[in-house]
């Protein structure tokens, strides 16, 4: 199972419309990605909450279709 880079970006942007999203396919196998997400919706939230917001935007795909997504979040 694999996921398209664009699909990940679209899902994150749907949930966090202001976000600047940068995704890299780390292994070139459509299964190991890293995402840097910058959004002002992260303000006042803990890192755990910020990462959960990104996970939630992927609607349960994380850990299933998507094996590995390294996340970095930043407030704008």
């Amino acid at each position: 199972m694999a996921m398209d880079l664009k699909e990940i970006e679209t899902l994150i942007k749907e949930a966090l419309p202001d976000a600047v999203v940068e995704i890299q396919d780390l292994a070139g196998d459509g299964n190991h990605y890293s995402a840097t997400v910058i959004s002002n919706k992260f303000f006042g939230k803990s890192k755990i909450e910020q990462h959960k917001m990104v996970y939630n935007s992927l609607k349960g795909k994380m850990g299933n279709e998507l094996h590995a997504l390294a996340i970095k979040t930043k407030e704008q």
């Binding site: 890192k47 755990i48 990462h51 996970y55 349960g60 994380m62 590995a68 390294a70 996340i71 970095k72």
Partner: protein, 110 residues
């Protein structure tokens, strides 16, 4: 999640000050992310319990529900979920991990 699984997780995180739910064991991690967190704890000489989620599918799924966090590894310090690989790595790099260990009175190499 079955009560039995919930009890098992609660037991592990209350009986071990530092508890890492991981794929594989501290000596033989089965996944790069689990290995990364495991190594950071080793470098800091933190005494921790590694719980191998690959030993039981109930545990592997249960831990995700328990913390509402979709991935493994998961690090708990004194009953509190600290984060997964990315967060722990960030905290290791910016010194926050040491600060948490200090605040929670866990022995580590300073």
């Amino acid at each position: 999640m079955e009560q039995q699984t919930k009890d098992l997780i609660n037991n592990e995180i209350s009986n071990n000050e530092v508890c890492l739910f991981m794929k594989g064991t501290p000596d033989a991690p089965q996944c790069g992310f689990s290995m990364a967190v495991s190594n950071m704890l080793k470098i800091l000489e933190v005494k921790y319990k590694g719980v191998n989620v690959l030993e039981s599918s109930a545990l592997r799924e249960g831990i995700k529900e328990f913390s509402d966090w979709p991935t493994v590894p998961q690090l708990y310090i004194k009953n509190e979920f600290v984060g997964g690989c990315d967060i722990v790595k960030e905290m290791y790099e910016n010194g926050e991990l040491k600060k948490i260990l200090e605040d929670k009175k866990i022995n580590f190499k300073k």
